[in-house]
Symmetry: C2
Subunit: 376 residues, 2 copies
């Protein structure tokens, strides 16, 4: 099989780059002396997560209970469900745990903790619950110094639950783009989460796990005293947002969309390709960053960046490829109908989700289908 045999658009994974990214993060976290728990929401792909495990990952992080169920069925047991649990999802969580999955839940409120406890006691079960800490104000979590933290600890001590740890995600790191700012946020993330654990321990509750992470902070932390594990997801592919953040180069990006030129509007400098937003996703994450790549950066079929050529527009199954800045009057000659190109994505998690499978391209040129799942 060759690239020419693939039906486009296709989600192409460069396995060499993928392996390099997996190795880089594992080495980094090993050097920091903590465990690594990759977030599988990026790929939802067993073939890839097995590579992460083989490289040294311990346990996985999931964003949906479907991911938990699928990976548990494939032999993973140590699973953190990193979205606040709600009562309606407790029956699914219980079924997973009763089936042998060591599933950890998270909460950031007293009412959440109480709901888990009440359900657990009704079912004669004890859930492992971690408290979500807000270390950067970007989303969920209880601040490390908040009085509510100890209220949640107290609620978790009422039976039916075991306080397994604290976790945080410094998602604000996606908005940074200098090593100094990233290192500072990594330290803020670490310090906040460790501080929360210390307050809980001082109140008398063991809090064995201190879990932090995002791809940018994991790669920018200088030391992680008090932390027991790091989580990260998008590093496995990287993407243009991460390149703008500064934690990878464009040629580290392991996921691209293989596309075919289907036409032109030569007087506008446009080539029309068969990768629209259905393939790329609607993610415009680089729009507010220092380099706006439109809907993606064009590369040769071999994966080399073609400087200046980006997907400047996207409809459902049409992408508009053009040169940023001055229009290219030679676009139709440069990229005739039938030309294959790779497009690097803004956000690998969003682009991957548009495809039922990845086409994994090995260094020897061989291709394999790696299925991924979607939905909840």
């Amino acid at each position: 099989m060759s690239l020419n045999s693939l039906n486009t658009p296709a989600a192409l994974v460069d396995v060499e780059r993928l392996q390099r990214n997996v190795r880089r993060m594992q080495d980094r976290v090993d050097a920091l002396g903590v465990a690594f728990r990759p977030h599988v929401k990026t790929t939802k792909c067993l073939d890839i997560v097995q590579l992460q495990r083989a490289a040294g990952a311990r346990g996985i992080t999931v964003s949906t209970l479907k991911e938990a169920a699928r990976f548990h069925a494939a032999g993973f047991t140590d699973i953190l469900y990193a979205v606040g649990i709600v009562p309606a999802k407790l029956p699914q969580a219980l079924a997973l745990r009763q089936g042998g999955c060591d599933l950890k839940l998270i909460t950031d409120s007293v009412e959440g903790a109480q709901a888990v406890g009440a359900f657990a006691r009704d079912h004669g079960h004890t859930f492992d619950v971690w408290i979500e800490i807000d270390s950067d104000g970007h989303r969920s979590g209880v601040p490390p110094e908040a009085p509510a933290l100890l209220d949640i600890g107290r609620a978790l001590a009422e039976g039916g639950t075991r306080l397994g740890g604290v976790m945080t995600h410094a998602g604000a790191s996606y908005e940074l783009d200098t090593p100094a700012a990233l290192a500072a946020l990594a330290e803020q993330e670490r310090a906040g989460c460790v501080r929360a654990a210390e307050r809980l321990r001082a109140a008398g509750w063991p809090c064995p796990v201190v879990s932090v992470g995002s791809t940018p902070t994991a790669l920018s932390a200088r030391a992680l005293p008090g932390v027991t594990e790091v989580r990260a997801g998008v590093y496995v592919f990287f993407d243009l947002v991460m390149a703008n953040v500064g934690v990878c180069a464009p040629d580290d990006i392991a996921l691209s969309v293989l596309t075919t030129v289907i036409g032109h509007q030569a007087d506008k400098g446009w080539a029309i390709v068969d990768a629209g937003w259905m393939a790329m996703s609607r993610d415009r994450g680089t729009q507010k960053q220092k380099h706006d790549y439109g809907y993606g950066q064009a590369c040769t079929p071999e994966g080399e960046v073609i400087p200046g050529y980006v997907l400047s527009g996207a409809n459902q199954e049409h992408g508009i490829l053009s040169r940023a800045g001055a229009m290219d009057p030679e676009i139709a000659r440069r990229f005739p109908v039938g030309t294959q190109l790779r497009i690097l994505p803004n956000h690998a998690c969003a682009t991957g989700a548009q495809f039922p499978h990845y086409d994994a391209l090995a260094a020897d040129g061989s291709l394999r289908e790696w299925p991924r799942f979607h939905g909840w």
Copy 2:
């Protein structure tokens, strides 16, 4: 089954609204005296397309050959593949036609027409090819007055192809928001496509079909002399972009995402819900329109708009629900953990694509799963 039994996020279809939308478009196109060929890329759902056919649709439009194959397998034969054909996809197209599918292809270039012809002659087949007309400058197609139009006609007369018609899509209609501007663009779309057909006929090639359409122009056209059929897709669900364009009201929107409140950041006026961008899609189509709905408009579980409350932010599995303008200090009391809400989407085609099935809610409150497919 009740809404409470659904796993959230879920793609909820209000069947009563859907049926009303189907009826409205069919009645409108019937009144214009032309055939209606719905675009099934919006739903990719057999249950829904069967309703469109039952209401009077003749033939369907698809955006991928996978849609063509799936709908042909389900008994649809008259299918227009409305994305410019490339040589690599001709074997799939041939297989469909040889299997009894009356598949129509489109092209907007001489090289495209020649490639289809050469492949067809090699395989002893004749393809039905329509010429794509650019009636508004927004994407693909050859302008009605371009010399190239007749060159394409000539290329299609060289054997292996039959010029079945001309088609256009005035996608620029999505950028308008007054009835007068929409009616004017509908007339421009009609006139351009009819003019192209007349030029081809004057050159001696029969051009039986004149196919136009987009949801906004289809609903705004005052008369369609010379047109034989209309195409439209998103009208079946409608969405917030269409509400801003002015061709529907928010309570016509038949697709919403059912979500559950999972937490709060009360001092910021945020409720966190389990519909993030993985559920809503990253589409921010209302961003530049007169009313920006963020990632979607919140409604009660019964589907009534809650004025001012929108998804102001989205991570992969987290949505941030807040009041536009002044923050709501009572958000945690207004929407406690476990509260279900419906979120109306910016762009129904993009939101639907995030789900493996729709949950179809009938007027009597009963629920059914309607599968949809994704990928290529």
